[in-house]
């Protein structure tokens, strides 16, 4: 449920990122409210991953600002923060679920430690509590607890993604970024993961930015939709309105290109 009475959690203003002479993304502005899920769609090279990296604190923009409503100090420009402050934010109030689990997990420590590590980074020291928390979250993402001491290396792609989600949610972040969270998975595994994400996001009231090229994913997960092409946002609105009554030529092409099942 979106909380309308609160200030925006994230405010992105006139954001651009160039790579030399190349445009990554250009002049993007939007607000995200607590509990709101924003989908970003577009073909490869449309700038959606560049945008995600910029707003997630991983890639400084060439121009524009990203402001996050911090618990203590209110809205702050994340690139005006000190490096330790930003890192702390990324470990506590933010989560990032990467397309490639290798980027988001530590492959050489156990599943339980992957979840516990994030808690220790914010000061948890009691082994029993950390372990209990890890078990709790691994259960929520439907992991077989018999695998808690195994390395993620030995997990299937779907299990690795569920472990990434547990690792991110254990600190109860208010904002989670997801980059193609379900691509590369079998359709049945995708459905299970999507359903899990949908349930957790709604229960916990987490705001999300989900980047994907899959319109089915945004239809199921997101309240609002942004369509990108050539680094620019060409259309932005309520998800079902953008998908059912697309206005921009590119969105019309995208929607009409879905193969009926």
């Amino acid at each position: 449920m979106i909380d309308r009475d609160m200030a925006p959690l994230l405010q992105v203003s006139d954001l651009s990122r160039h790579y030399g002479g190349q445009v990554g993304c250009e002049d993007v502005s939007f607000e995200l409210y607590p509990g709101e899920v924003l989908g970003v769609v577009g073909e490869s090279g449309s700038g959606k991953t560049t945008l995600l990296k910029c707003i997630a604190g991983l890639l400084p923009p060439s121009a524009g600002t990203v402001s996050f409503d911090t618990r203590v100090d209110g809205p702050r420009d994340i690139y005006a923060m000190s490096e330790p402050e930003r890192r702390m934010l990324m470990r506590t109030d933010w989560g990032i679920v990467f397309q490639n689990p290798r980027e988001g997990l530590r492959m050489n420590v156990s599943a339980g430690a992957n979840v516990g590590e994030r808690l220790m980074a914010v000061g948890a020291r009691n082994y029993g509590e950390i372990r209990g928390n890890a078990v709790d979250w691994l259960t929520k993402v439907e992991m077989d607890l018999g695998r808690i001491d195994h390395l993620p290396e030995t997990f299937s792609g779907g299990m690795q993604q569920r472990l990434q989600i547990a690792r991110n949610l254990v600190t109860q972040p208010r904002l989670v970024f997801m980059d193609e969270p379900t691509s590369g998975l079998d359709v049945s595994v995708q459905a299970r993961l999507l359903d899990l994400i949908r349930g957790l996001v709604r229960q916990l009231g987490i705001a999300c930015v989900v980047v994907t090229h899959d319109l089915g994913v945004v239809r199921l997960l997101s309240h609002r939709l942004m369509v990108m092409r050539g680094g620019r946002v060409v259309e932005h609105g309520l998800t079902d309105q953008v998908l059912d009554d697309p206005q921009h030529p590119y969105t019309q092409l995208l929607v009409s290109s879905i193969l009926p099942v």
Partner: protein, 241 residues
Amino acid sequence: MTQPSQTSDVEEMIQVEGLSKGFTLHNQGGIRIPVLENVSFTVKRGECVVLAGASGSGKSTLLRSIHANYLAEAGSILVRHDETWVDLVGAPPHLVLDIRERTLGHVSQFLRVIPRIGALDLVAQPLLTRGFDETAAQRRAEEMLERLAIPRALWALPPATFSGGEQQRVNIAMTFARDYPILLLDEPTASLDAGNRQAVIDLIVEARDRGVAIVGIFHDAFVRDAVGTRTYTVDSARKAA
């Protein structure tokens, strides 16, 4: 918040004023299909307005525009939300979602199935955010599924495998389990047999008599006569074009 253009009647729930809607097909040489032109009508509490007109005249387009699923091109669509008039045309997405959550119920022709969620939970879950506790939500959902004759054996199963008629009844149960002040109904009885059709008619009539403002498309004359209080004929803008 916008004020209504006419003298405000406390009984009015929807005011559509000068609504126009067409479609531009950019990938088919930019063809423009006008559908609705300058449509105006109002709906009061306790009314069930039946949208009439030939196939292709724009009945569904009108209903979808009121649901803000289609983007109006001109005019205004005012709905009474928490005793304030809100114009759905140009309203920000989070406000539209809030209106759909609490004021504007909609029964579409097809159920959008969510994988892995059982029929009973599908009906009960949305009630939890509306002040029902777990037990009350469960009871209300059971009551609705029972009224709509969904076999008890199916309640725990996700509706993906249900028949068309069963899916449609789950869809109706989801919307009617909640007390929306406004209901938009798009062919709610299309794939139902006579017995189930009567159950849906009863639900609509009860809602209407409780003061819900209803707009609907009903191709079945029997249903139309049973629930409708008034007809609004949608004229195709295409004739003029």
